[in-house]
Symmetry: C2
Subunit: 327 residues, 2 copies
């Protein structure tokens, strides 16, 4: 099992990708990683670590795509970037998967362009984890497809369900449609059509509302990428917001530093299921390959878990099962 | 100042509307309320209270529109319902405003049908409060217009700004467009058009993302009703979610009951700015009258604050200022 890792992606490269990759290799004897990026900076970073030189390799890619660069433009003009080179290695069969905490749009564009779509897939999609009382569940689409059609939405539901079953270990995942009300007749004309289409699934539990997200009323939440992206980013801002609000409350209440510490510990425990580091990232679903995207701010732990997620996706043949589910 | 109050709306009628109305009258010497609903149940409830009989009146409306009834149908068939009768009283000049914690769709339909639109308004809108570090700000539209057009979005921004200035006391409120990224070229073709239209406002601060909601980067967040409704309901579910998650953490950590109490107190203080009871409700913006909608679960305090909000809207001539802002 060989996974290529973008060593020049995310907000903290090369430190975090390098450290995460080394940790992934330490945990899995069968795994080899290829660090893709400017060779000099990777070597310099590796010098700070002890690692198995046979299983932590380097592949030079001198260009770097910035987090804010326009994806299409960047992929076209930076053919020697870690993203384009990494996805190319995967396409050429030199590795089983590619993971990156870099520019999401550029990774998606490179993956679509270089790897192409799985047979039968209309549009690949970005799924995202969102935390519920039951653990992490899937929100799909999370921003790749700002507009959806009934037939693409049905495919998102099916692809998300395969991922849920294989990687999150949920048997018969329930599919819900994010909408403004529970009744079948709610929403725009388009959402009513999507609802009809999703009814062909035995696992469809109907429309669900914003308030149903945390309770985990579905395992796969279908929505367009506009709603998905806004809800996702809003949700991700909750722990930070809370920390600040609790900080303000603590000041107002003039607590002792001991009491403050204890409260922070309780909060941290309570919000541990919000911790994206523990799940790392999700592969683009519908792409003919395994291309895993993670947060720009990914920690070494998050990178390690992204690599793990890539390995699992390959081992469980998620793509083969997606193709089968669409037929 | 006379405000009619729906005594048969919301999840806890007649208790909460009756109690809230009595408290509003106690706080404001200039105010008279008319409780609208089935006379017998209102009288029975009023018997539990001391109140000024000259300023707490009853207007019989024997029918009740349920929270889950189809709005259009309910308004058509239940002409003697508290909502239709209450809005009718306002139209007939018997009161200055109508407030209800009942079926939002029915109240909107009745308001549109009976009161009509203010001159120059393309589409009335439902705005919602959302909590930020800076206090409550506005999200508009929150579900009345699932689809928007550039010209309606511009009006929402203007109407929301007037409300922000007059009722939330924010001078020169900033307008933001909820989108998937900050850059001008982000989003659907429609959102790009909306962005162009909003640029005609000096107060426009550009696109904002889901993560920018809590920090309060804008005072008026413009979005379509689909996004607004989902984000609103998702956000409203946060305090409940947190309470449960902290409860789970507390159990896991085997804390003393003292520590549990302290934590709950801190959490309550921290989340006090999430408390919708303190703001109550917002009038439909663009309707030719003052028709205030609140949560179904409104407490007496929330009802009292809805009435206060209605009084302020009348006193500050929000509608006159809306008409002026659209010219």
């Amino acid at each position: 099992m060989i996974v290529a890792v973008d060593a020049a992606g995310g907000d903290y490269y090369p430190q975090n990708p390098v450290k995460g990759a080394i940790e992934a290799v330490e945990e899995n004897n069968e795994l080899t990683v290829i660090l893709v990026g400017p060779e000099d900076i990777i070597k310099e970073e590796l010098a700070n670590h002890e690692y198995d030189k046979k299983r932590v390799l380097i592949h030079d890619a001198p260009q770097v795509i910035g987090m804010d660069e326009s994806p299409g433009q960047a992929v076209k003009t930076k053919q020697q970037s870690s993203i384009v080179v990494g996805v190319g290695l995967h396409k050429a069969g030199k590795c089983d998967a590619f993971v990156s905490a870099g520019n999401t749009g550029a990774l998606l564009a490179a993956s679509m362009f270089i790897l192409g779509k799985l047979p039968g897939v209309l549009r690949p999609t970005i799924a995202a984890y969102y935390p519920t009382f039951k653990g992490f569940r899937l929100l799909v689409d999370a921003g790749a497809n700002l507009e959806i059609k009934p037939e693409t939405a049905l495919q998102f539901a099916k692809m998300g369900s395969v991922f849920c079953e294989q990687i999150l270990d949920i048997s018969n995942p329930k599919v819900g449609l994010l909408n403004v009300g529970e009744e079948e007749a709610k929403g725009t004309e388009l959402l009513k059509e999507v609802h009809k289409e999703l009814k062909s699934l035995d696992s469809f539990v109907g429309n669900l509302e914003g308030k149903d997200i945390f309770p985990g009323k579905a395992d796969v939440y279908v929505c367009d990428g506009m709603v998905g992206n806004i809800v996702l980013k809003f949700g991700e801002s909750i722990p930070d917001m809370l920390e600040k609000m609790i900080g303000m409350a603590v000041q107002k209440m003039e607590l002792s530093s001991e009491e403050v510490q204890r409260t922070q510990k309780i909060l941290k425990t309570a919000l541990s299921s919000f911790n994206y580091e523990n799940v790392g990232g999700i592969p683009f679903l519908g792409v003919n390959g395994v291309s895993v995207v993670g947060h720009g701010g990914s920690s070494p732990l998050a990178i390690k878990n992204m690599i793990k997620s890539a390995v699992q996706t390959v081992e469980q043949d998620v793509n083969g099962k997606i193709v089968a589910s669409l037929n």
